[in-house]
């Protein structure tokens, strides 16, 4: 993985010491809250429902075991013993005290981490496929380009005060695990006719109150032009994006109102002027960054592991875990192991300090000391030998980390909602907990098959409900929490926005409604059809009919 150079170290250290001074002046009364708020937000520090909230960036979701141990330490010493992993591959702490935050940032800097640009109208943490570098279907490791973008965008003076926050996601594989079509800029690695790798560039996707799927503005961008092209897009946005209305300020609105073609032409015009400036990426620079992500020395193994097969055959629980949580690795004899942060009845995305430490230890023992955070709020060990999977699974079980539900109904993305978030209209976590209890039976979940259920507590859509196969949005109806259900959303390469099925349900009825939707699917599915397949074939009607039959 990437290691800081001297410039990175200096920059982060200076930033912490600057913030330490700002906090001291705030506490001493030399700064008003009005003056201080933008400064704290620039360092990822929000004020939420119960306390401050610190959002720490995990660049493209990649962590070393050392960094994970530090996150655990911070949770234990400065917070209430846990942290929350988010859909943007960050971690949030919910209870830090203001005077402690500079110390926390100092501790983070020790392990090359920080909270810069985790808030504000700037380019946020670049997210990437959690299987980057190890996925069998990958064209190239997207982390190389995510890192290049990180270096380019960090404290970029021109893009520090954009009309609105700006989110970039990248995938190196045709199977999109990074939800690139619902980001401000999405990048997909593709090959041109000559077989050279480059990027398809998508712009203007997003969720929130006006959900949109991104438009492709360029089918093939050569690697050397990555930064100049991004710079051109951002420059057009920075100049023309609306600053008068917060709700119309995202690039998706600009693309929509300008029209994708005209917008693309403006970007191309701007790009023509800067494409051969020093922004063009020299091969040597790409090679330098690539070296940080060079594949580790893998053992030469037989892809078939008789021990592994025997354990699978002999232990039904292990077999279920492998079926849901283990993915193909590009190297024979290795596997990708997903660690679910969605235990039945738990808070999706939360991990205790003990669990974080356990994962760090397991990463050292079984996966070359590296961990990834997925945008679906789970963790991933990327390089596990197949013959170690059984031991890994047993160890995970002792820490309540072996739930075999990746991609199944209880693997929900859930925003913090009204239990933590000051913007919320309704609670999300209790709804997720009730649904996961209702579908606790793993055999049943496996029978239902792939089903992505996503929950947000308000229209901002942090929980990705628009792109859930089943989406649940919390709304406030005369002071009472209600939930609107959408069906047919999808966040992968075939991204789609879900359709509202009908009037909202009360908190007491929403789990039954989900059950009705699932039962309807089970009744009408054709052989081999997933939930989404059935929905796409049969449409909204059969679900609607059953849901509202009694009304």
């Amino acid at each position: 993985m990437y290691r800081y150079d001297e410039f990175d170290h200096t920059l982060v250290a200076e930033r912490v010491s600057q913030f330490r001074g700002q906090v001291a002046r705030r506490v001493a009364g030399e700064l008003t809250e009005e003056e201080f708020k933008p400064l704290r937000l620039m360092n990822g520090l929000y004020l939420q429902l119960h306390a401050y909230m610190l959002r720490v960036a995990i660049p493209y979701g990649v962590l070393s075991s050392l960094q994970m141990r530090k996150l655990a330490h911070i949770a234990r010493v400065y917070d209430k013993g846990y942290g929350h992993f988010t859909t943007r591959q960050n971690i949030q702490y919910n209870w830090p005290k203001l005077p402690d935050v500079p110390d926390i940032l100092d501790e983070l800097a020790e392990v090359e981490m920080h909270a810069i640009q985790t808030s504000g109208n700037c380019i946020r943490n670049v997210t990437a496929d959690q299987y980057a570098g190890v996925a069998g279907d990958e064209i190239e490791d997207p982390r190389i380009y995510a890192e290049i973008m990180r270096q380019w965008s960090t404290l970029h003076p021109e893009f520090s005060f954009l009309p609105r926050k700006f989110k970039i996601a990248i995938t190196g594989a045709p199977n999109d695990r990074a939800a690139v079509k619902v980001h401000d800029i999405g990048l997909r690695m593709v090959r041109n006719e000559a077989g050279e790798p480059g990027f398809e560039v998508l712009v203007g996707g997003g969720q929130g109150r006006t959900p949109m799927i991104a438009h492709t503005v360029r089918d093939f961008l050569p690697i050397r032009h990555l930064l100049s092209y991004l710079e051109a897009i951002l420059r057009v946005y920075n100049q023309l994006g609306r600053r008068d209305n917060k709700y119309k300020a995202r690039i998706k609105i600009l693309v929509h109102e300008t029209g994708a073609e005209k917008f693309t032409a403006m970007v191309e015009d701007e790009w023509a002027q800067i494409k051969d400036t020093p922004l063009a990426l020299p091969e040597s620079e790409v090679a330098r960054i690539k070296a940080y992500f060079a594949p580790p020395e893998y053992d030469t193994l037989d892809d078939n592991s008789p021990e592994f097969d025997a354990w699978r055959g002999g232990d039904r629980d292990f077999d279920l875990w492998v079926r849901a949580n283990v993915a193909e690795h590009k190297v024979p004899g290795y596997a990708i192991a997903n660690i679910s942060l969605k235990p039945i009845g738990g808070t999706p995305g939360d991990a205790t300090a003990d669990q974080m430490e356990a994962v760090a230890d397991l990463a050292d023992r079984f996966s070359l000391g590296e961990i990834r955070v997925s945008h679906e709020q789970n963790l991933v060990l990327g390089d596990v030998k197949k013959r170690d999977l059984y031991a890994l699974w047993q160890a995970l079980k002792t820490h309540d980390l072996a739930t075999a539900n990746i991609g199944l109904i209880s693997d929900m993305i859930t925003c913090p909602g009204l239990d933590y978030c000051s913007l919320a209209n309704a609670r999300s976590i209790p709804i997720a907990q009730e649904i996961s209890e209702r579908f606790a039976d793993l055999e049943r979940q496996h029978d239902i098959g792939e089903l992505k259920l996503k929950i947000s507590g308000c229209i901002n859509a942090c929980g990705h409900h628009h792109v859930g196969h089943i989406g649940i949005l919390g709304v406030d109806k005369k002071g009472v929490e209600h939930y609107q259900i959408t069906l047919g959303g999808n966040a992968d390469q075939n991204a789609a926005i879900g359709k509202i099925v009908g009037p909202a349900f009360s908190g007491d009825d929403v789990t039954d409604a989900v059950e009705t939707i699932v039962e309807t699917y089970l009744d009408i599915r054709a052989d081999g059809e997933s939930f989404l397949d059935t929905y796409q074939r049969a449409g909204l009607e059969p679900f609607k009919e059953r849901l509202y039959a009694a009304h």
């Binding site: 429902l49 306390a51 005290k97 203001l98 239990d419």
Partner: protein, 103 residues
């Protein structure tokens, strides 16, 4: 006539606090000073304004409450959650210490 109290977050740790009858900032909603009608509400906000200026609290605002048998209770669920802590983690927030105190 609406019955209101004034709430804010403490600058130091962000904790949810209320202006109390004795003019301090209390963590317990039950100890909040109640204002009836708009004039009294204005008074509460004015006192809060001083505390903001003094750097004790931030983001002060009024919330409606009910008072039954002397027990003050916020009307909106959001404020009930602020007053107690996350509904899914009774070991966190203010309810955690109330529980220990009661035990």
């Amino acid at each position: 006539m609406t019955t209101q109290i004034v709430t804010a977050n403490r600058l130091d740790d962000g904790a949810v606090v209320y202006l109390s009858a004795d003019g301090r900032w209390t963590e317990t909603v039950g100890c909040a000073r109640v204002g009836n009608g708009s004039d009294e509400a204005e008074d509460l906000l004015a006192i809060a304004g001083h505390a903001v200026a003094d750097g004790l609290i931030v983001e002060a605002y009024l919330i409606p409450v009910t008072v039954e048998n002397g027990v003050v209770c916020p009307v909106h669920i959001k404020e009930v959650i602020r007053a107690n802590g996350p509904t899914t983690r009774l070991d966190l927030g203010k309810q955690a210490s109330t529980q220990t105190a009661a035990a």
